[in-house]
């Protein structure tokens, strides 16, 4: 069951986390944190009506926690991270070259979150609103604003 979830939805979850985090390294960390929480909670949910929604919600909460920790650490960090870039990071850099991804990265964070949850995460507008804790109307207006901006950038 646990491994079925990653086979069915893992790629979308990781794709969404990459959009949310903005880099592959953080996304992988949050992905593993998501896996740990899923494993802990799976036994209490023998039947999942909407596994994708459940996973995306957990992944988004993990992202929020990770972002909170990162912002705390950032105050303590004095020098940038000079670790060698692995092949995955290089691939990510190539991927980042795609205009659409660059345009999505350039969106304001609340708008980017809606794009990541709705399009990459595959949540409906109502589910997205529930996960973000905002009104459906707000999700719609953010989505419209995202589409307008992406369209103008890509034209």
């Amino acid at each position: 069951m646990f491994l079925d979830l990653v086979d069915s939805h893992g790629s979308a979850i990781l794709g969404m986390l990459r959009r949310l985090c903005g880099n592959a390294h953080d996304a992988d960390d949050v992905f593993q944190e998501t896996a740990i929480r899923v494993w802990r909670n799976l036994s209490s949910r023998p039947r999942l009506r909407n596994p994708r929604g459940w996973l995306v919600t957990i992944a988004y909460r993990c992202f929020l926690d990770h972002r909170g920790r990162r912002s705390e650490q950032r105050g303590l960090e004095e020098s940038p991270d000079h670790r060698l870039r692995g092949p995955e990071d290089q691939a990510e850099q190539r991927e980042d070259c795609s205009r659409l991804n660059a345009a999505v990265d350039g969106l304001p964070e609340p708008v980017r979150q809606v794009v990541a949850l709705h399009y990459t995460g595959g949540l409906t507008l109502e589910e997205t609103a529930r996960v973000l804790g905002i009104a459906v109307g707000t999700v719609k207006s953010r989505l419209n604003s995202a589409l307008e901006k992406l369209r103008s950038v890509l034209q």
């Binding site: 794709g15 992988d28 992905f31 369209r151």
Partner: protein
């Protein structure tokens, strides 16, 4: 429908607005092209590359991490209970010794001291009764502490038992 309303209506509008947008796209070539571009963009946004082996391994590792974790936790709880019990016993012993120290000492030297002190004690029978009240209070406190200790140790045992049952249910419930 106006062209500037088209995108908004076709993507996030209600059923009626979407239908109107579709009809508009059928008449307006520019909006039809826009719709195609946006649909392609949405398709690209919804795509994510398949997981690599290392990424799938992250998920499997999480399972291993969590399987190992319960082996550590049962040690922690009894350890905490033992520390708490030791602390309580320590406090109880300290109170007991303090109570003993405040009692008049026995033996010949003490008897002499007692004789010397006798007039003063005789002068204040109130002080004598206060000492015995203190002693009774300390004993009552000790009794309460020992009851509390019993209660805590029973609670710790119960918590352990519950945890073990939950683990067994987790382990065998999945089979």
């Amino acid at each position: 429908m106006r062209c500037d309303e088209f995108l908004r209506s076709s993507r996030t509008g209600n059923v009626w607005r979407r239908l109107l947008a579709r009809l508009h796209a059928a008449r307006c070539r520019r909006c039809a092209q826009l719709l195609q571009r946006v649909a392609a963009m949405e398709h690209e946004l919804s795509q994510s590359p398949p997981l690599s082996q290392s990424q799938r391994r992250l998920w499997e590792q999480a399972m291993e991490i969590e399987r190992e974790a319960p082996a550590r936790s049962p040690v922690r709880r009894p350890l905490l209970a033992a520390v708490a019990a030791t602390l309580l016993v320590g406090i109880a012993v300290a109170i007991w010794q303090w109570g003993e120290g405040s009692r008049p000492a026995e033996g010949p030297v003490a008897e002499n001291e007692q004789r010397q002190a006798e007039p003063a004690i005789r002068e204040s029978p109130l002080a004598q009764s206060r000492d015995s009240e203190d002693l009774a209070e300390i004993r009552a406190g000790l009794d309460r502490l020992s009851l509390r200790l019993d209660h805590l140790s029973r609670k710790a045992a119960l918590l352990n038992a519950r945890r073990q049952v939950a683990e067994l249910i987790d382990r065998y419930g999945k089979l």
